[in-house]
């Protein structure tokens, strides 16, 4: 899995970020190389979702110090759309509904913006329909969802499949999946996880943000990180996730306290 020639893709160094003057990230350090799958775990409010949104460039968060580099480039200077075009993908925990905007057209415009960046030919409506029909199979999604407005009236599971469909179309370098498993029944979880597995290659990387071990039974991580109070406090392999499942987050927090003492 981990080859010698894998590249450093994402480099987060002492990242602090706040929202409305409240500090949420208190010094995150993380390195992600191509071919790797990282899991970020932690309690609610530990800063997992904030980390994903800061990487993607959500305007509500202010980075107060630290750096985020992607393939050596300073990500923090880029607009969210620029980050998306160079290959950063955020799979949302709660994908928003956008009434009136056709899902198919949205997917096409998004796909073309990425293709343009990659120097690939932009697709017209007909060409795109071919591509999207093929990619639908990755998440076993019903084509009827293409004709609806973006996420409008979709169930939780359908929204998540639509997220992974977007991932399949955009072919990002690094995908950050924010609680993609939440609200999914076990069948839907397997479909979504299998989609992610199909899309993971030697040249891509994935960050899975999750509460639970169960997603990690489907997608095997190379690293498991635990976040608490806005920072990564422990890193290990898959065994760490299993230990967390058995012993709970308190165990980690106890350990930190001991270290701090």
């Amino acid at each position: 899995m981990l080859s010698q020639d894998s590249n450093l893709m994402l480099e987060i160094n002492d990242l602090h970020a706040s929202i409305e003057d409240k500090e949420i990230l208190t010094g995150v350090n993380l390195e992600v190389r191509s071919g790797e799958i990282h899991a970020v775990m932690g309690r609610n409010g530990s800063g997992k979702s904030t980390l994903s949104k800061v990487i993607a460039g959500h305007p509500a968060y202010v980075v107060t110090s630290g750096t985020v580099k992607f393939n050596g480039e300073n990500l923090l200077e880029m607009e969210p759309e620029e980050r998306a075009r160079i290959g950063i993908f955020l799979g949302f925990q709660y994908p928003v509904e956008i009434p009136g905007v056709s899902n198919l057209e949205f997917l096409r415009v998004a796909t073309n913006s990425r293709r343009k960046e990659l120097g690939k030919e932009e697709l017209d409506t007909f060409e795109f329909e071919e591509l999207v029909k093929e990619r639908l199979s990755v998440v076993q999604m019903n084509p009827a969802f293409l004709d609806r407005s973006v996420n409008e009236g979709f169930s939780g599971g359908e929204k998540k499949r639509n997220e992974i469909l977007q991932m399949a179309l955009l072919e990002p370098s690094i995908s950050i999946l924010d609680e993609t498993d939440s609200g999914l029944d076990i069948d839907a979880l397997r479909i979504v996880a299998s989609g992610v597995n199909q899309l993971s290659t030697r040249t891509t990387a994935t960050i899975l943000i999750t509460h639970y071990q169960r997603l990690l039974n489907e997608i095997t991580p190379d690293f498991v990180h635990v976040m608490a109070e806005g920072a990564i406090v422990k890193t290990g392999g898959q065994e760490l996730a299993i230990e967390l499942e058995n012993r709970g987050y308190e165990w980690i927090e106890e350990n930190i306290k001991k270290i701090n003492l």
């Binding site: 993607a56 759309e81 949302f92 928003v96 956008i98 057209e105 913006s113 973006v150």
Partner: protein, 480 residues
């Protein structure tokens, strides 16, 4: 979780049609009195009946008060400080396009409305109105082969006085309202359309109104008559240069649909709307009304209102003929300090008449956008139906949207449905689209255009995409 500041910095892109054409203009003195009206009538070489019509309207106007019930609020207009007639010089009689001043042709070309023989829009006949006069009408001959009359109203007054006498002022009477009375007294030019019995107009008809002088009011008058079993689709477009003073525009449009005929009237209004501080812009006070006189006749209004500092406009249908149909599809977008009070009136008189109202209001900046509509079911309107849908979209948190639906029913067997909704473009929706590589402005424009789709679907093919672009342009830089 959303930060209001980012969705809110309101900056307007420069108005693309704001140039002034440098052309010698013949203007009469400022102000209005009986002599002004006689002078306008004489300049236009009008028959006696029209002068009388104008003078009667003027007398009525003097007795009337400017309405103030709309949610607009603007400083008082000094009606003696306006020039009521301005025309480019050398405008003797334009027998052919060669005689039209090339500067004027160039102006319209710049506006995207080429009227010279070689460059005309295919399948769209255009009547180009510059300040107070019509300077050219294209495809007249081709239309004449089908018996369709399409010319300036001044020309129609002299060439078809009987038709004018019969219909002018019958849908919008001279004393209908303050602005209609003023228009009836001083109207300068506009378009005239006559579709004879059984004729389906072979091409799209279009008028393009251009205000060029800063101190001149524009008062155009349009009259469209569809005889039995005929049909026509008509589109008007409007632009004006940027001046820091306010220019008055008070138009009247009358449509008459006889048995089994149909008129589709579309407007893309993009008068100058003032700068981002709200200085300058057109005051747009317009009376548009159609009468479905005949059985199973149909009048459909579609409008895309994006310009003007102030818009006061209620294109309406009087549904007199049995089973006649009235439609109103509207997109009104306001930005910066624009104010719009617009909507429709559906007056159901005949039995089994039907009407549909779909109104989409988009307010950005510190603008205010009101829908005001009346659905009236008269005592004879047995089995009549109305469906209204009024949706508002707010961009930022300083814009206002209001809906004033008035419903009067004197007929228990009439059916009225009203739906309304308000939504706001949220930061999270924008972020979602952006995080998929779609830039901020395109994201806004996708959402706005999705919101307006029901109305755009009603516009003539050639103009639907234009309207879409126009909205995108108006919103460019409006948020961010």
């Amino acid at each position: 979780m959303s930060n209001p500041n980012t969705v809110e910095k309101i900056v307007s892109k420069p108005y693309k049609y704001g140039f002034v054409t440098d052309i010698e203009t013949e203007k009469i003195n400022k102000g209005i009195n009986r002599d002004t009206i006689k002078l306008i009538s004489a300049k236009k070489n009008e028959p006696e009946f029209l002068l009388k019509f104008r003078l009667r309207a003027y007398d009525e106007w003097l007795k009337m008060k400017e309405p103030n019930w709309a949610k607009l609020g603007y400083p008082p207009i000094n009606y003696q400080d306006i020039i009521y007639y301005a025309a480019p010089k050398k405008d003797k009689k334009k027998e052919s396009l060669e005689e039209v001043d090339p500067k004027l042709l160039e102006t319209f070309e710049k506006l995207g409305i080429p009227i010279s023989e070689q460059k005309r829009l295919t399948n769209v006949a255009v009547d180009a109105v510059f300040d107070s006069v019509s300077i050219a009408t294209t495809y007249k001959e081709k239309l004449a082969e089908h018996g369709v009359i399409f010319c300036s109203i001044s020309e129609a007054v002299n060439e078809y006085p009987e038709i004018i006498k019969k219909y002018l002022g019958t849908v919008v009477p001279i004393n209908d309202n303050f602005f209609a009375a003023l228009n009836s007294a001083v109207f300068s030019d506009g378009s005239f359309v006559y579709i004879p019995k059984g004729v389906e107009c072979p091409m799209e008809l279009s008028s393009y109104f251009r205000i060029n002088s800063g101190d001149t009011g524009q008062f155009e008058r349009t009259l469209i008559i569809a005889e039995e079993k005929s049909s026509v689709s008509y589109l008007e477009g409007c632009t004006a240069p940027m001046f820091d003073t306010n220019t008055l525009h008070a138009a009247v449009v009358e449509l008459i649909a006889l048995d089994h005929s149909s008129i589709k009237y579309s407007t893309v209004q993009n008068w100058y709307s003032g700068n981002e501080q709200g200085v300058g812009g057109i005051y747009n006070f317009v009376t548009k009304r159609g009468q479905c006189r005949g059985k199973k006749s149909k009048i459909s209004w579609s409008q895309v209102e994006t310009g003007s500092a102030i818009t006061w406009k209620y294109p309406s249908c009087i549904l007199q003929g049995e089973e006649s149909v009235g439609e109103f599809y509207s997109v009104a977008l306001t930005n910066n300090f624009q104010k719009a009070d617009t909507g429709t009136k559906m007056i159901h008189i005949g039995a089994k008449t039907r009407s549909t109202i779909v109104s989409k209001g988009i307010s950005a900046g510190q603008s205010s956008n009101s829908y005001r509509g009346l659905v009236h079911m008269g005592p004879q309107a047995v089995g009549a139906r109305n469906y209204s849908q009024c949706d508002s979209m707010l961009i930022g948190d300083q814009a206002a949207a209001n809906t004033y639906p008035y419903i009067h029913s004197q007929q228990p067997q009439a059916n009225i449905e009203h739906e309304a909704s308000t939504c706001r473009i949220s930061e999270d929706q924008l972020f979602y689209l952006q995080s998929r590589g779609i830039d901020f402005e395109e994201a806004i424009s996708m959402m706005v255009s999705g919101f307006c789709q029901d109305v755009f679907n009603q516009l003539p093919m050639e103009f639907a995409s234009e309207a879409d672009k126009l909205l995108a342009l108006k919103l460019e830089g409006s948020v961010g």
